[in-house]
């Protein structure tokens, strides 16, 4: 009974941590540029698949992982430089279509160069699982939670302690004011895309030993990250983390206690229910219309 509950909670929190990282990436880009980046999931794919490919090419895992993460970072920077920045005055829907185009493009590239097969990464620890309260706890879950926490703390420090992080925050809050005090907002936006890509890639790498990775995993993971961000309230980082965890747990409990057929529907039902009662998500700010 309890062991079952523990089991579902473990997998829920693990998944939730991944969703939270994707959602954080969404939030970062959304705050900086008001773009909903439908290509966010592809960064996870690049992280996971990139690591697999580099390892196949003979690189040891401690080089393959950073290599893949750098690849994703470059993809993020290029996405902003080549696709988003040139279309800066476009309509919101147009920007959405551009990021969808980018995600199809990246997926297509992965399919050509990396193939269509599903791959698994080896778990990071030799001991694959521990027994806690009668439930199986994958050591990889601990890695995921540890790394996700580390990233969140690092991101927090980046925003509060470094000049660059503060410049990014300032740009998010008011682009014109930021550029007036001498912040190069264009470069800062590119940086936001780069960091979001890094976050996504790390999530993609650490989850790969549990869920497999392939050229097309980005669609669903990206969508769920978007939902987690919306549950929390678009633009709120704390909300993104909360939304991610909530989503992971809801999914795990549904799969465990109700029906695994409808596991994938959980996020979408959850978001509808939450938006019904809280039209700006859990922690989203209420926009006041000025007339």
């Amino acid at each position: 009974m309890f062991s079952e509950f523990f089991q579902f909670s473990f997998s829920g929190i693990t998944l939730g941590a991944i969703y939270a990282l994707v959602a954080l990436g969404f939030t970062l880009i959304y705050n900086a540029s008001h773009v909903i980046n439908f290509a966010q999931g592809e960064f996870l794919m690049i992280g996971g698949m990139g690591t697999v490919v580099l390892m196949d090419a003979g690189a040891p895992i401690y080089l393959a992982i950073p290599g893949a993460i750098v690849m994703a970072g470059i993809a993020g920077v290029l996405l902003h430089k080549l696709a988003i920045a040139p279309a800066k005055n476009a309509d919101v829907v147009t920007l959405i279509i551009i990021t969808i185009g980018a995600s199809i493009f990246l997926r297509g590239l992965a399919q050509i160069f990396w193939g269509k097969d599903y791959h698994a990464l080896p778990a990071f620890s030799d001991t694959e699982s521990l027994s806690v309260g009668g439930a199986v706890l994958l050591t990889q879950s601990l890695w995921i939670l540890g790394i996700a926490t580390l990233l969140v703390v690092a991101l927090g420090l980046f925003f509060t302690r470094t000049a660059l992080g503060k410049a990014l925050l300032a740009t998010s809050m008011n682009k014109d004011a930021a550029s007036m005090v001498g912040i190069k907002t264009g470069a800062i936006l590119t940086l936001a895309f780069g960091i979001a890509a890094l976050l996504g890639a790390v999530a993609g790498v650490i989850v790969a030993p549990i869920t497999f990775t392939a050229y097309d995993i980005g669609i669903m993971l990206g969508l769920k990250g978007f939902i987690a961000a919306a549950i929390g309230g678009l633009g709120s980082s704390t909300g993104a983390i909360l939304g991610g965890l909530l989503l992971g747990l809801a999914e795990a409990y549904t799969a465990g206690y109700i029906s695994s057929d409808y596991k994938d529907a959980v996020p979408f039902v959850l978001i509808l229910v939450i938006l019904f009662f809280l039209p700006n998500g859990l922690l989203g700010s209420r926009a006041v219309e000025r007339v």
Partner: protein, 328 residues
């Protein structure tokens, strides 16, 4: 006093009629007809979706659900309840319209990205339900659909018909039907856009506050255009089901919803003729790219990005603007 210029619809409609009438001359085989029929049916959805997205400014990322709703309702009503196809199509449209009304009421209060999110959610839920309820929908294996019959005459793509002494294949007849339906859909949409109701809908996009002070109940009007666009999708879905004779959950997928919204944005938001071109292009691109096989996705993604970056208003409005500038 200056004279008031009124907007003339006739030239555009005549041009559309001519194009639809001439298109068969380009069709060399049944495959070409098949493509043209699919373009017409998809264009019908796009024309309806454009009323919502392009004119009223409300994003839907889940419209495939309504298309699939029409298709599955038609299939099930004709198969399990012995409805004739036409009444089934109407019943499906009413049911899908009512569903849109029910789900639209809470979600259309949402703004911007939250509305996109909610419509996306509805679409994905519909796709999952269709996939999982295999007792009813056949699940991922799909569902066979009876051929269309109009007033007792069966219209099958495999048939051959005598018409004024001419032999005409079932596919050709289907093209006439699909093209006629598209023409009707365009005529209705153009009427709507130019009516007082259409102005109120466009004002939702232009300035919701202006609409409100003019007395427009914005929530109610958003719901109306949502339902109208859902009914467009439903009817096109029903026609598609009868035409193809077999439907799968793919037509309800998130990917299909994205394809539909892409057509609208690509062809040109708030341009009825633009979205027809958008539908044609989006369905034709894969045909031209089949030679590249592996590259298909990459090229498709690149084309999509390039068009949207360089023509953010979409093809037809951008081109029209360029012509106007040259003329001026």
């Amino acid at each position: 006093m200056a004279t008031v210029k009124t907007h003339r619809k006739a030239p555009g409609l005549i041009a559309l009629f001519v194009i639809l009438a001439v298109a068969p001359l380009l069709a060399a085989n049944a495959f070409h007809y098949d493509l043209m029929i699919k373009i017409c049916l998809t264009a019908i959805v796009a024309v309806g979706l454009n009323l919502l997205v392009g004119y009223a400014g409300q994003v839907s990322l889940g419209h495939a659900a309504f298309y699939a709703g029409g298709a599955y309702a038609s299939a099930l009503l004709t198969q399990n309840y012995e409805f004739a196809p036409l009444p089934a199509m109407l019943t499906a449209a009413v049911a899908v319209g009512s569903l849109a009304w029910l789900v639209g009421r809470p979600i259309l209060h949402l703004k911007g990205h939250y509305l996109s999110m909610a419509t996306l959610g509805l679409g994905v839920i519909a796709a999952i339900v269709i996939n999982n309820e295999d007792q009813i929908t056949g699940g991922p294996d799909g569902l066979p659909v009876a051929p269309l019959s109009l007033f007792g005459h069966e219209l099958s793509v495999f048939g051959s018909y005598e018409w004024f002494g001419m032999t005409i294949t079932g596919t050709q007849l289907w093209y006439l039907l699909a093209a006629g339906a598209l023409f009707l859909a365009v005529w209705l949409a153009l009427n709507l856009i130019d009516s007082p109701l259409g102005r109120a809908l466009r004002a939702l996009h232009g300035s919701e506050i202006a609409a409100q002070v003019a007395g427009v109940d914005t929530a109610k009007y958003k719901l109306r255009v949502f339902v109208i666009s859902a009914v467009y999708a439903s009817v096109a879905g029903s026609l598609y089901a009868h035409y193809s004779g077999f439907i799968t959950p793919d037509i309800a997928s998130f990917g299909h919803s994205i394809e539909l919204i892409t057509i609208v944005v690509l062809g040109g938001m708030a341009s009825t003729y633009g979205v027809i071109l958008g539908a044609a292009i989006l369905l034709l691109i894969p045909q031209f790219l089949t030679g590249f096989q592996e590259l298909e996705m990459v090229l498709f993604g690149a084309i999509l990005m390039a068009v949207m970056i360089f023509m953010p208003r979409g093809l037809v409005p951008t081109i029209a603007r360029r012509f106007q500038k040259e003329a001026a």
